[in-house]
């Protein structure tokens, strides 16, 4: 395979969003040589779309906040299906990760004392989200990007070459993680620009590829969210955890059709926006679930007072966790109380003066003005649920982010599972990226120092190359765009917000049929920047991920967080004791259950036992209260 471009690195990081870049920084600072690979240009990753903020219990706005409160909120938001250790590390370390960004040049909005300002968000007990207006993700990605450049500038001074220790391979897609003797040995892929193939030899690979939204029809995700990392890890022998939990963000744009699904930040509600139906009713008061009754206002007057006096009032139900709000909107629309284009109304114009709206929510103001001809300082927005985030992902060791079953493989950010349980709180994604991105980089560094270099055999390269070229060489005449559209319709109709056994079984039949067609997807034209070719390859990943979601959803006979079964509408404490695990044997996905690790006593004791009784079985409560681990 002499004609293949070859590179050798200590660590290959797949994905240049927040998690990938933070992992790369950590690995470089540990002395390693790092390749950063991204499908887009450097700095365009989906992290830029994060709006509201990054959660960290710095206590700058309310000094009662601390990691224990953040931990509790995170576990509650995830309905106690989270891996306790990940939630603990996340809550403890996120303030340091935010402060570190400031030393790299990030400029967050400030409090009057000159500290980082923090805003309210759904499910967070105190104002906790560090932010820059409603463009926090852009600030984060740019800061990380500029940190990488700063490290490269240092390498230029120290080693005479800016790319001696970190090189960004932009617009390159990885199609396979390569293993030799059961361990990671590298990765294989192609330049999007010319279709030329590239081999990376490396003992460690960090997967930080983000989400899966492009498997769904209405999504806030960009084209990059094709579940590449999820599929790469499955194919490399790794395991995906809790894939049934998909977050439908309650507020996506619903009109015009071309922007359907585009995100409307939760900050709109955090800053006072209210949800109403076509009767003008603030319907969220009718949807406060039993487990949250003592935390949320049951009348408008109290909810309104909360914005100015949080100590003596309960928060308005517009700020319930995202899964609750999304289901409520879905129900209102189904009951015929929706807005003209099939959503509900979100109104901030009656709550804040126009100049404050433009200042606090500048990109929302632009987005609606320029794309929908709506001035949000004067009129309500029309919003509805949109596929936003997958809680499920690669099963990892919580401390090192090492992927279970695949030595040398690490995963961080949205592609990893466990941190968010059955539902992620807003703001916990950017902090997740930083906390676990850093840990993955550190985990990879330790691994590389213990294991040394890796090399890939010619036969592995040949096999990877053949698979990569299949869209050009295979017989068949399927249009990849058509197959993709049908996949999105299938998941939308049968694996969406509300699910049933019958529909999920139908979905699996349809997905199997689509897989046969995807295997015949043909790339027209040449290898140069050919999106048809790229999509033909991505389809395989999207189908694999969709099958995992459907199988895991079929297995879990309860409703919890981002998984709602119409035929099993209640949360069931027995199901809280298990995660679902998906594996791939080369031809089919298998879903099984696996016991959830139980919280140690000191974390269990952070909760009021009466609250935990709502989630845990009596046996678990007895065991925990008795001090058993």
């Amino acid at each position: 395979m002499t004609n293949v471009e070859k590179h050798e690195y200590d660590v290959v990081v797949i994905g240049a969003g927040g998690a990938g870049l933070r992992a790369a920084v950590e690995a470089r600072e540990a002395g390693l040589r790092v390749a950063i690979i991204c499908k887009s240009l450097f700095g365009k990753a989906h992290t830029v779309m994060a709006e509201g903020g990054v959660s960290a219990s710095m206590g700058n706005v309310n000094s009662d906040d601390n990691w224990m409160v953040h931990f509790r909120d995170t576990m509650r938001g995830g309905k106690f299906l989270n891996h306790w250790r990940m939630a603990e590390l996340h809550a403890k370390e996120s303030p340091d990760r935010v402060w570190e960004l400031e030393t790299w040049g990030a400029l967050f909005d400030r409090t009057p004392e000159g500290k980082i300002s923090q805003r309210n968000f759904g499910g967070h007990e105190y104002p906790r989200l560090a932010h820059v207006g409603d463009r926090t993700g852009l600030e984060l990605i740019r800061t990380m990007q500029q940190r990488i450049v700063a490290l490269q500038q240092k390498d230029a001074r120290d080693h005479g070459d800016a790319e001696s220790h970190i090189k960004v391979f932009a617009e390159l897609t990885i199609t396979e993680i390569l293993k030799e003797n059961g361990k990671v040995a590298g990765a294989y892929g192609y330049w999007r620009e010319n279709g030329n193939e590239v081999l990376f030899q490396a003992p460690a690979v960090v997967v930080a590829t983000g989400g899966i939204g492009k498997s769904f029809k209405v999504t806030s995700n960009s084209w990059e969210g094709t579940g590449d990392g999820h599929a790469l890890v499955l194919k490399a022998g790794g395991r995906l955890k809790d894939m049934e939990f998909v977050q439908f963000h309650p507020t996506g744009m619903v009109w015009p059709p071309s922007v359907r699904g585009l995100l409307v930040t939760e900050s709109v509600r955090g800053d006072g926006g209210v949800l109403t139906n076509s009767d003008g009713i603030r319907f969220m008061f009718n949807y406060i679930p039993e487990v949250f009754k003592d935390k949320y206002a049951d009348n408008e007057a109290e909810g309104d007072r909360w914005y100015n006096d949080q100590a003596n009032n309960r928060r308005p139900p517009e700020l319930l966790p995202r899964d609750e709000v999304a289901r409520a909107i879905n129900s209102e629309v189904k009951a015929g109380r929706g807005s003209p284009h099939g959503g509900v109304f979100l109104d901030v114009s009656k709550r804040l003066p126009a100049d404050v709206i433009r200042k606090k929510l500048p990109s929302m103001w632009h987005q609606f003005k320029e794309l929908a001809d709506v001035d949000i300082t004067e009129s309500p927005m029309e919003v509805g649920p949109t596929c936003h985030y997958v809680m499920g992902g690669v099963e990892v060791d919580p401390d090192t982010e090492a992927a279970v079953e695949v030595p040398g493989l690490f995963a961080a950010g949205e592609v990893a599972g466990g941190m968010h349980g059955s539902n992620r709180l807003g703001g916990n994604s950017l902090s997740d990226l930083l906390v676990f991105g850093r840990r993955a980089g550190a985990g990879a560094a330790v691994y590389v120092k213990q294991n040394g270099a890796a090399s890939v055999s010619d036969s592995s390269v040949k096999a990877a190359s053949d698979r990569l070229n299949a869209p050009f060489t295979r017989a068949g005449d399927e249009n990849p765009y058509t197959v993709h559209a049908e996949l999105q319709q299938t998941t939308n109709d049968l694996v969406g917000i509300i699910r049933t056994r019958v529909e999920l079984e139908e979905a699996l039949v349809k997905l199997a049929a689509l897989r046969i067609r995807a295997d015949k997807a043909k790339a027209e034209g040449g290898r140069e920047f050919n999106p048809g070719f790229h999509l033909a390859l991505d389809l395989d990943n999207m189908l694999l991920v969709s099958e995992c979601i459907a199988r895991a959803a079929l297995q879990r006979e309860e409703s919890r967080g981002g998984h709602t079964r119409d035929d099993f509408p209640k949360m069931d404490a027995k199901w809280r004791q298990v995660n679902s695990i998906c594996t791939w044997d080369g031809s089919k996905v298998t879903a099984v259950t696996q016991k959830l690790p139980s919280m140690p006593k000191e974390l269990f004791d952070l909760f009021d036992p009466h609250e935990l009784e709502k989630y845990m079985t009596p046996e678990e409560m007895t065991a925990q209260e008795g001090g058993a681990k």
């Binding site: 887009s40 030393t103 852009l138 990109s363 794309l371």
Partner: protein, 256 residues
């Protein structure tokens, strides 16, 4: 309000670094759509290998930069209803950068220039968590940090648009605002950023025609808030001996 469908005429540049030409297509358009939707429909139905960069489709990532009827624009933020009925819309790649294929250009120039701007440098003794800055002081730099790196300002800038030879010594508006952002950062201690802008990054070649400001989709006042203040202070410092002395004493050279 049902979706209104109609046919629109598009003229798309197709080709590569060696050769290319405009090709005419007719394609369906629906109410509320943007140029990027139309290009995607062409891709899905008529030219499956049509190359175009895009990501967020919400004006936040700055990937789908191209020239629409000769103007540098984001395709995702260009509404179809801004064109006349029956008008042919011409879509071409950014002119200031080498074409890779169709609407995709090689923008690596910008990443090279980014490498030449010295990084943020906070005081060495200031620990994480101890940074204190007032909102009013960070706002000036925050305006420039809104930049989504679409490079439309670089594309339209006449210093490099048709002058390949100037690229070596000219960083372009995107990096003038990057330098201004760092220069105005309340806690950046690196000195002489303005002088470097003048002497190393080609600030002097800009003659303030404000084309960059006009095309900025983030409405950053590139010329008024970054370029002109830096130029003025450079002039002040160069010719005023008292201010020159002041600049040796404090970082804020030339600023009273």
């Amino acid at each position: 309000m049902s979706a209104i469908k109609k046919m629109v005429k598009l003229r798309i540049w197709r080709g590569d670094s060696k050769d290319g030409a405009l090709q005419d297509v007719e394609v369906e358009a629906n109410e509320g759509e943007v140029v990027l939707d139309i290009i995607h429909r062409v891709q899905a139905t008529q030219m499956s290998d049509l190359a175009v960069r895009w990501n967020c489709k919400a004006g936040k990532c700055g990937s789908c930069s191209m020239e629409i009827n000769g103007k540098p624009r984001l395709a995702c933020m260009t509404r179809m209803n801004m064109f006349e009925e029956g008008e042919t819309i011409t879509v071409t790649p950014l002119r200031a950068f080498p074409v890779i294929r169709d609407l995709v250009t090689d923008v690596s120039f910008n990443f090279k220039k980014a490498m030449e701007v010295p990084a943020f440098e906070p005081p060495a003794d200031l620990k994480p968590g101890e940074f204190r800055m007032q909102q009013v002081d960070v706002e000036r730099s925050q305006e420039f940090r809104k930049c989504i790196e679409c490079f439309l300002c670089q594309d339209t800038c006449h210093v490099i648009r048709d002058h390949e030879e100037n690229k070596k010594s000219f960083a372009g508006p995107r990096f003038f605002i990057r330098i201004a952002e760092l220069d105005m950062h309340p806690l950046d201690i690196l000195k002489n950023r303005k002088q470097t802008a003048q002497e190393k990054h080609g600030l002097g070649m800009c003659n303030i025609t404000k084309c960059c400001t006009e095309v900025c989709p983030e409405h950053i006042r590139i010329t008024d808030n970054a370029i002109i203040p830096m130029k003025e202070r450079v002039v002040d410092v160069k010719y005023d001996p008292l201010r020159w002395l002041g600049s040796k004493i404090s970082k804020r050279e030339g600023i009273v």
